[in-house]
């Protein structure tokens, strides 16, 4: 007897799945709708390879996902290759190499699959779809606002009209640590306490910084309240500059989309290990997963850039169900031209490959809601 898992051909490795009808089609069309919105805003699509040399994949902003990369030895060059766990570093590589001469600001979009070595208990998926945009070569509140606004429009295109955008300043807490000379293990413990919003631990490890951090911790919430708390916190000059940029970004978003739901979490920095400025995480009310994530980073270690990645899997779980394309049964020997015109009206036609006596029964067996009778689609 062994501990091996039962040998069933349907069993997939942890975190992977087959997408079946109609979900696979739903996903493809949702990604299509999202990419349409990106394209309509001038974001031009690029398609990096699924796998590339480890060195280039992990350069710059890619280093943040180093431990999540599947690695394979290239039998051809004998160099180590990595499967992407995130697309942004690849797009950044394209922007700084092949498209180094392209006019700035450079707007690029992408859609594709990523793999990561391990999921978490709460998000066990190891293959993750991404659809995103990068806005490269511009450092302004208007650019920070643009990715939020385009992201909101893309979500609306798949029927998600009430997303919630949580804005963060991943550099604020480190700036405060520097200002107050928090270093070494204390810094690690304090960062961890902040990440878990553990007020007791913040008080224990925060020292002189504890009152400010506690105040900012409790300020997380609706944008206006959080901005007021930031203004009242008496921040040192470096931190105050970051807060000012956030204020300008919020104002720019509000100018174009006054009703967009914005929250701010001033001291959050989770998952933004390559982000250097205003960052954003997208949520849907009542859902427990992130729909997307983005923010400001350095493209190729020097060029200012910002971007947003949507996660179509979680977007679709939050989005309302899509109306399925009605299926029409075309009995054997029916006019093919009529079937073609009904396809043009939006039907999926299912053509009989042999004569059947019970047309209605056969239609039902094959999941068809309609039957082609005398040139018209009749609902059964």
């Amino acid at each position: 007897m062994t501990d091996d898992l039962p040998d069933n051909p349907a069993l997939l490795p942890a975190g992977l799945r087959d997408l079946l009808p109609p979900d696979a089609e739903t996903e493809a069309s949702a990604v299509g709708a999202i990419m349409n919105v990106f394209a309509a805003h001038g974001y031009q699509r690029v398609k990096p390879p699924l796998i590339e040399f480890e060195d280039s994949l992990l350069a710059g902003s890619g280093a943040a996902v180093a431990e999540q990369i599947f690695r394979i030895m290239d039998p051809d060059s004998h160099r180590m290759m990595g499967l992407r766990a995130d697309t942004t570093p690849q797009v950044a590589r394209i922007a700084t190499t092949r498209l180094a001469g392209a006019a700035r600001p450079l707007r690029l979009s992408y859609a594709g699959q990523c793999l990561r070595v391990s999921g978490s208990q709460l998000a066990p998926e190891r293959q993750i779809a991404q659809a995103g945009i990068e806005l490269i070569g511009n450092d302004s509140p208007e650019a920070d606002a643009e990715i939020v606004l385009v992201g909101a429009e893309a979500l609306a295109a798949v029927g998600l009209n009430r997303p919630s955008f949580d804005l963060t300043l991943p550099m604020l807490a480190p700036a405060l640590f520097d200002e107050f000379d928090v270093h070494g293990t204390e810094r690690g413990a304090l960062a961890r306490a902040l990440d878990r919003k553990d007020a007791a631990a913040v008080t224990r490890h925060g020292g002189a910084l504890a009152p400010i951090l506690t105040e900012l911790l409790l300020a997380a919430g609706p944008a206006d309240r959080a901005l007021a708390a930031l203004a009242a916190a008496g921040l040192p000059i470096v931190a105050e500059k970051l807060a000012e940029r956030l204020r300008e970004t919020v104002a720019a978003i509000r100018r174009h989309a006054p009703d967009l739901r914005l929250t701010i979490d001033p001291v959050e920095f989770r998952g933004f290990r390559y982000h250097t400025g205003v960052s954003v995480t997208i949520y849907a009310p009542g859902r427990h997963e992130e729909l997307g994530r983005g923010g400001r980073y350095l493209c190729g270690d020097a060029e200012p850039a910002t971007g947003l990645t949507l996660f179509p899997d979680s977007v679709l779980r939050a989005a309302p169900p899509r109306q399925a394309r009605p299926r029409l049964f075309v009995p054997f020997g029916q006019d093919r031209a009529q079937a073609a015109s009904l396809r043009a009206q939006g039907f999926a036609t299912v053509t009989a490959l042999a004569k059947t006596a019970d047309i209605q029964g056969e239609a039902r067996r094959l999941g068809c809601s309609h039957v082609l009778r005398d040139g018209v689609a009749v609902e059964e």
């Binding site: 009209n161 949580d166 990440d195 878990r196 007791a200 631990a201 009542g286 427990h288 989005a319 899509r322």
Partner: protein, 231 residues
């Protein structure tokens, strides 16, 4: 033809009451006065450990209480099944769910998580010379981390109760467990040799719930905070 997506904005936002998860057992009775000060009045049988009910309405129609095992409070809140909860810092140390925020130290349920061993072996040798040690505990993560920091590999025997029996019956050299008064240890011939950390109960909230319902969750945090201020 691309079939249309229905506009979700036409539906009312999913409301339903918020769920507050409370731990069965030791902390539950200490929660009573605090909940009263916060103004949470659950159905009377919520403290009755014999009641078969697991979910209790409160006088506030927007808040229900569930009563689960202490370790499960963290799991319910981490997965968003409950938006708010009360649990000991020991549970948070052991599970370390990134989805849980602990914005408030409630100061109740005070105890410590400690290493204990039979009085007969305590002090008989120098732990700094150990390579490994067998530990009985219901906190495998905390035990491993504690000994790893001292350069000792902990072989954990994972128990869910009656840890105090383990050393005398030869199951393990040490135990790692919660100690409140120390009387259970004493009754079983054990002595506390090291305090790993002091423990109090925390108000915990689900990260995503705080992000998506900041008004409602924020208001509860504030109410608990006020209730803890000296009158």
């Amino acid at each position: 033809m691309t079939a249309p997506y229905f506009a979700k904005s036409l539906e009312p936002e999913a409301t339903g009451p918020l769920i507050l998860a409370l731990p069965k057992g030791r902390i539950l009775s200490e929660c009573g006065p605090l909940l009263a000060r916060v103004g949470i009045v659950p159905a009377a049988d919520y403290v009755d450990e014999n009641s078969r009910r697991l979910r209790f309405p409160t006088e506030d129609p927007d808040l229900d209480v569930v009563r689960v095992r202490p370790f499960d409070v963290a799991t319910f809140v981490a997965f968003g099944a409950a938006q708010i909860g009360i649990c000991g810092a020991d549970v948070l140390m052991e599970f370390d769910y990134p989805e849980i925020y602990a914005p408030l130290d409630l100061g109740i349920g005070a105890c410590r998580i400690s290493v204990a061993e039979p009085a007969s072996t305590a002090g008989s040798d120098d732990p700094a010379r150990w390579s490994r040690v067998r530990v009985a505990t219901k906190y495998p993560t905390i035990a491993r981390r504690h000994f790893a920091a001292r350069g000792v590999h902990a072989d954990v025997v994972h128990l869910t109760g009656a840890m105090e029996l383990a050393p005398t019956l030869g199951l393990a050299r040490l135990i790692v467990d919660l100690v409140a008064t120390g009387s259970t240890l004493k009754a079983n011939g054990l002595v506390e040799t090291e305090v790993i950390d002091t423990i109090t109960s925390r108000l915990i909230v689900n990260r995503t719930a705080l992000k998506t319902q900041p008004e409602a969750i924020g208001a509860w945090i504030e109410r608990f905070r006020r209730a803890m201020l000296p009158a």
